[in-house]
């Protein structure tokens, strides 16, 4: 691979994008070349819109991804998928979990949750992969493992060896949640076929 691959992981604070970014970047480091990851910590994490940016390749300068430059977007929530869609390359792939988490303006009745976002995105993204992530995570043993389900789906598009993924998961996930997370990853990977 000669070029830099740019991946956005987006979701709602608490959905585990930081951990997913950690696993992805460790796997990328094992694959070789350079890796850069940019996270947002602090106030934005409290239930807000969050993004982790991962870039890897032979030489990576910026740790951030420009609009229209992401090769993949992995979205843990539908509204967040649409919010970040403008960051996807025209031929990029959007992996989106079929979950809707209403933001506060919707909860309080100040706004409505937009309808038909998946349909709209089908027309706009190069490829869109819709994943029933919560269902698969539940089947793996915990809905909290949603982030690993989505990484499993993404893994089909990336050149990393399964052993590198496993090593990355083992390094990043606390031991007591390891088995559930490995299962979630495998279910996502299988669902991606």
């Amino acid at each position: 691979m000669n070029k830099v691959t740019s991946i956005l992981l987006v979701g709602v604070g608490g959905q585990g994008t930081i951990l997913a970014g950690r696993v992805l970047s460790l796997a990328a480091a094992l694959y070789g070349g350079q890796v850069k990851v940019s996270d947002i910590h602090g106030m934005a994490q409290r239930g807000g819109s969050v993004v982790t940016q991962v870039r890897f390749g032979p030489r990576v300068y910026a740790p951030v991804i420009d609009p229209g430059a992401a090769d993949y977007i992995v979205a843990a929530e539908i509204l967040e998928a649409r919010r970040w869609l403008s960051y996807l390359r025209p031929e990029g792939v959007m992996i989106v979990n079929t979950q809707e988490i209403p933001p506060l303006p919707v909860l309080t009745g100040a706004a409505d949750y937009p309808q038909g976002l998946l349909e709209e995105m089908r027309g706009l993204a190069g490829e869109i992969k819709v994943v029933p992530g919560l269902e698969l995570a539940g089947a793996a043993g915990s809905v909290k493992a949603l982030n690993l389900v989505l990484l499993g789906v993404l893994s089909r598009y990336l050149p990393f060896a399964p052993a590198d993924w496993e090593a990355a998961i083992t390094q990043a996930v606390p031991p007591r949640w390891l088995e559930v997370n490995k299962r979630a990853f495998e279910l996502g990977r299988a669902a991606s076929c």
Binding site: M43, G47, A62, V64, P67, S86
Partner: protein, 597 residues
């Protein structure tokens, strides 16, 4: 060994390898992880100090005492620590002293985006700016060396994208620095006017020596390429320049104060057109212009917010493309408007919110209900300013809620104070709210201060403080008693309430604002994120009983929504705090008694 490290962890690694013996900080995004990582090394004494000024003083004492020391803080933290810094610049150090300033361009988690490089210039101390994690580690080690070699504190200036980005780092082993001898030297360390006067010329002379060092410092390097266009840059902006403008010549400054004048002249003279690309203020640009050099900078690059490759491409790239059209043919000058999908879309925003079960919620709900004026402070509870709670009038800096409430009372009188409360968190109160409260007592204020005591420094990720009973390393220690503390400051009316008990909170606040003497209400409940493991009964809406009045939605709880005319509780998110049940006029909400996960 090659490791994927967060910028902040790389700083910690560099300090460890450089033999640091004492490290102190007050938590603040984006600097917090430095001390968290250092606390894992048993060889290093690490502490959470009550505030940044104390942290720097502890580090200064250690350094003058002969041990290498580091103090870390966010940019606004250096405002608090500026007092010791300015005079430490005169005294110099004994063993190395590194001050880490983590700036936050783009205000991801801050109240402003000040450019702290000006502090280095103000104090006349060297400023190092790493551009990735490897440099964060290397420059930290260099900072200790420069500190000892030039007898000066050294500023290591990070920005969010360096502090909170991971990249690969080649690490090494710890070199014990040992203790330097401690020799009494009052003329060097006791800054009486006479001694200070004698030290100032040495500061000037030191800057000249640092300037000479900067000329050949390996961290300042020229990357000659096409000489028709040159860019002077530093820190994260360097990465954006390399990404957006491949092929142009670059002067990458690792030491951004003092500037290597000869090197800058040589570079600017060696290129056709010279740009200066930096985030925030024209710190480098102004110094370059003072040399009489003609450069292009802030007239096209924003002074506001963070930069990005796209921004550099869209400003400098556009201008430079006219000069090097052949080179620019390979540049991807991305324009948001050219992106296939427009970003400007009317999507509902997703602002950060207080967590389900957050103990702050009930207090702000009550303050809104009572329609009080609220001077606020810095922490998760600043979210009380956002809809639907919308009950904070001011938030300026750590501790300001207390002093500002007294000022409002003095300006507008006692009657106004009856409608006024100050709100502050436990960690923030211990940081710099205590002195304001002392002022209330001393100068006869009659205010009411609510201390939201959730037993942690929550916003930055649950760090310990003097009120938690644990050290940075997690060892048990003395735990300050808030009630005793405020009584000791002279407040005789001290009440403790449970913020989940709305009736108690309301009655207590009403009583205390009506009292013509200073009072403190401690609203005490653990942060909801800390007691996640204990989560038990969640709430549920009894079918058919909900009137659809939306009263519960005024709490702004992310677990509550309104579906088909009925309130609805997401059992997965609900923390079982019961606030919604308290505010429901038709008793439609009850504890379901269901235990999840």
């Amino acid at each position: 060994m090659r490791e994927l490290l967060l910028g902040n962890h790389a700083v910690a690694r560099g300090a460890y390898e450089a033999g640091v013996s004492v490290a102190a900080a007050y938590p603040g995004t984006p600097s917090t992880e430095i001390i968290e990582a250092l606390a894992l090394y048993p060889e290093i004494y690490t502490e959470w100090a009550p505030n940044e000024k104390v942290a720097l003083e502890v580090a200064a004492g250690a350094a003058i005492g002969g041990g290498r020391a580091l103090a870390a803080m966010k940019h606004v933290g250096l405002n608090v620590a500026a007092d010791p810094l300015m005079t430490l610049a005169y005294t110099g150090v004994n063993a190395g002293l590194v001050v880490v300033s983590a700036d936050d361009p783009g205000l991801f988690s801050s109240q402003n985006e000040q450019d702290n490089r000006y502090y280095a210039r103000l104090a006349q101390i060297p400023c190092l700016e790493p551009a990735d994690s490897q440099e964060a580690r290397d420059f930290t080690m260099l900072a200790f060396d420069l500190s000892e070699r030039f007898d000066t504190p050294v500023m290591l200036r990070l920005t969010t994208r360096v502090a909170h980005s991971y990249s690969l780092v080649e690490t090494g082993l710890r070199q014990e620095a040992g203790l330097k001898d401690y020799v009494k030297q009052p003329p060097k360390y006791v800054m009486l006017p006479a001694f200070g006067r004698a030290r100032h010329p040495l500061v000037e002379e030191r800057r000249e020596r640092l300037k000479a060092y900067a000329e050949t410092a390996p961290v300042n390097r020229v990357e000659w390429a096409d000489r028709r266009v040159g860019v002077i840059t530093a820190g994260i902006a360097y990465q954006y320049v390399k990404e957006a403008l491949p092929g142009v010549s670059v002067l990458k400054l690792g030491l951004t104060y003092p500037l290597p004048e000869k090197l800058v002249r040589e570079f600017a003279g060696g290129v056709g057109t010279c740009f200066v690309v930096e985030e925030l203020e024209p710190f480098l640009e102004e110094q370059v212009r003072l040399l009489g050099l003609s450069v292009i900078g802030k007239e096209i690059i924003p002074r506001v917010g963070e930069l990005s490759p796209a921004l550099v491409a869209g400003t400098v790239g556009r201008r430079a493309a006219l000069l090097v059209p052949d080179l620019a043919a390979n540049w991807t000058v991305r324009d948001q408007a050219l992106s296939q999908v427009a970003a400007a879309l009317d999507l509902p925003a997703r602002p950060p919110v207080m967590c389900p079960g957050c103990p702050h919620r009930g207090v702000f709900y009550t303050l809104k209900k009572l329609n009080l004026v609220v001077t606020g402070d810095i922490g998760c509870y600043t979210l009380g300013a956002s809809p639907p709670l919308s009950s904070m009038d001011t938030c300026i800096c750590m501790g300001a809620s207390v002093g500002m409430a007294l000022g409002m009372e003095k300006a507008r009188g006692r009657d106004f104070a009856r409608r006024l409360v100050a709100v502050i968190g436990d960690s923030t109160f211990l940081h710099s709210g205590m002195t304001g409260l002392l002022d209330w007592v001393y100068n006869r204020g009659s205010g009411t201060l609510i201390i939201l005591d959730n037993g942690t420094t929550a916003m930055t990720g649950h760090q310990h403080h003097p009120g938690t009973g644990y050290t940075a390393a997690g060892d048990p220690t003395f735990k300050v008693d808030l009630e005793q503390l405020v009584r000791g400051l002279g407040v005789s009316r001290v009440r403790v309430v449970d913020p989940y008990d709305l009736d108690e909170v309301e009655a207590t606040v009403k009583e205390e604002v009506d009292t013509a003497e200073p009072s403190v209400i401690i609203a005490r409940r653990s942060c909801a994120l800390l007691k996640k493991e204990e989560k038990g009964a969640v709430c549920k809406v009894d079918e058919g009983s909900c009137l659809g009045c939306r009263k519960c939605l005024e709490l702004g709880c992310p677990a509550l929504s309104f579906v088909e005319g009925q309130a609805c509780i997401d059992a997965l998110q609900c923390n079982g705090c019961g606030l919604c049940a308290s505010v429901c006029p038709s008793q439609a909400i009850s504890e379901a008694g269901v235990v999840y996960e």
